[in-house]
Subunit: 410 residues, 2 copies
Amino acid sequence: MKFGGTSMADLERIRRVARIVAAEAEAGKRIAVVVSAMAGKTNELVAWTDGAGRSAQGLPESDDEYDVVVGSGEQVTSGLLAMVLRNMGLNARSWMGWQVPIITDDAHGKARIEDIPPERLSAALDGGEIAVIPGFQGVTRDQRITTLGRGGSDTSAVAVAAALGAPCDIYTDVDGVYTTDPRIESKAKRLAKISYEEMLEMASLGAKVLQTRSVELAMAHKVPVRVLSSFTEPGEAENQGTLVCDEEEIVEKRIVSGVAYSRDEAKVTLLGLKDDAGTLSSLFSMLAEANVNVDMIVQGQARVADQANLTFTVGRRDAGRAVEIMNRAQAELGFEELRVDEDVSKVSVVGVGMRSHVGVAQSMFKALADKGIKVQAVSTSEIKISVLIDAAYTELAVRALHAAYGLEQV
Amino acid sequence: MKFGGTSMADLERIRRVARIVAAEAEAGKRIAVVVSAMAGKTNELVAWTDGAGRSAQGLPESDDEYDVVVGSGEQVTSGLLAMVLRNMGLNARSWMGWQVPIITDDAHGKARIEDIPPERLSAALDGGEIAVIPGFQGVTRDQRITTLGRGGSDTSAVAVAAALGAPCDIYTDVDGVYTTDPRIESKAKRLAKISYEEMLEMASLGAKVLQTRSVELAMAHKVPVRVLSSFTEPGEAENQGTLVCDEEEIVEKRIVSGVAYSRDEAKVTLLGLKDDAGTLSSLFSMLAEANVNVDMIVQGQARVADQANLTFTVGRRDAGRAVEIMNRAQAELGFEELRVDEDVSKVSVVGVGMRSHVGVAQSMFKALADKGIKVQAVSTSEIKISVLIDAAYTELAVRALHAAYGLEQV
């Protein structure tokens, strides 16, 4: 079981978490609980490390000490939850990352879990103990505290579940994964099941239910992950959530499972670019070297011979850096004009059924055209199609696509 | 070097601490720094554990988890100080209690240090690293986090110094140990040196400069402890502090080194007690069993035969418990009346010179009598004399004794 910062925000909520854990324990389950720091706490600790002179650029000189400071928030909540559980008469104890141990590499501030030897935890669970584990933190092989990067508690939970050979229930402030954002489309339906691949696409496309890394890890180790609401009292109401699982376990595969959107895009257009293979290659090399991730690419012939126009999209926070790089290389790339448009959004349909169905793109374009929405760029994977549109049409596009694939009947 | 919670209260002060540490490092010293949590932080964490259901009576069921929560405050400050030191170009890292390791018994919430294997720390210091160590916390042999009880950071510092064979500088909000409280006697003088035994008496008599346990530990391991101000910038002014050391190192032994006082006393009087040895014995056994520490005792004959009057003192916070115990046993003890007077204080003179000088008590009583101060009870040790007086006369008594022993000329 994993509970996020909102679920652990104060003692009142920690007591509710304890009641949910107790209900599962009373059902005879062996339980490890992974917890986040109180909501807001990690930001406070990070601010202190900034004040202590951690470089604004996030340079790694002091990231080991950053981890010592920032990892303490989860230590507090895990101790508190263990105390509340004991006061309810349950057998519980906290396990710090270094006690389990949750062994990571030494990439401080964004460490990756390498191994979780399950022996100690298993022995504790076999002895009837509920293990409470701070999420987000680990320890290197030479015994230094690490943290996994923001949102790392989901990853901790899935990794612990994988080590124990257990399923993973992620309690959050929503009661599952929806066909689309219910704030935009009130007919959005909770999905009973979604495949790892679909969840990965949804997560990377802006649906913020689970951290992308945790889904990758769950897929790699075939850990069944259930997303549930922590704001339902145990036994109070049906709280089935959404099961994230292997594609094979989903009997009836939908062509489209969900519609996702992201407003964090920026469209960059280069007019009058030199029209040769070398130019494009060096342009994208420069961006890659600067860690700027390019998503969609559209290349067109310009009216002038030997010139091309190029449009591509990057994450909005990378846009400034991309522009800077290209302006610096204007002579080499030879373009005449550079335009940046941040008034765009990306809308995507995701579904494993696309693998065996043709015509999804066609129906998508038709649904958008019917509403007068112009597609500016496209990118696809085996199980998703994304289009770039004018940001003002985002909600309209989401609702149109939700209806076009009959998702209100899921 | 050890810095308390007031010295670590915010980033501004942590930066000043770092400058003091840097000045010592630049003088070529190998340095381990022990730090407290930010002032107020430990109280906040303790309040959370109370809210999590730690029993109000301090029952030990969850004291291991209490330690997990409460020990986190020092983790934060040690990480922050290490970061600030690095940003000044120094080589520094934090060492958690479990990393050093600072091995304690498993008396959670009030653990005692059992061992500090010096190998790892020594190797780090030999490598030119400044070691920053959270005070107050340790680890059991089976790898659970412990805390040493309130004020335990002084003890941590002395223990680390003992393990490294180093002297210990305790930086605090006063610049040394004074002949008496300067708020009461403006002529009070800073002592250049004080013996462990004297410091122990001063600490237990209410002078709050050092924790009693840390002085005991320093005495046992012959660690020279210097008390210094952390509010002086390095090199800015003379900051010699007070050296707490072995009696032999103090060439000119003063008869009286200091005058201490405590208002935390309560006087209990039993009138018409059965006058036999068994009664007294069972009375003090009852108090001892309830952990009530009795300090002074005065027994007098009552006017009625076979009856005695008994006066004794206890700590004020124990008074209620003492009264309850005796009322419950009234039939057995056979006293007629019980009186409690909290309007008393204890004033003491302390000095190793008393061992070889007679007449100290006599001059003390005379100095008090000259001011019309009545002595209600007396207790003595080899190097101190304490008297119980009416609380209203506390300041007058302190000043009279300070003058009587010429302490303004120290």
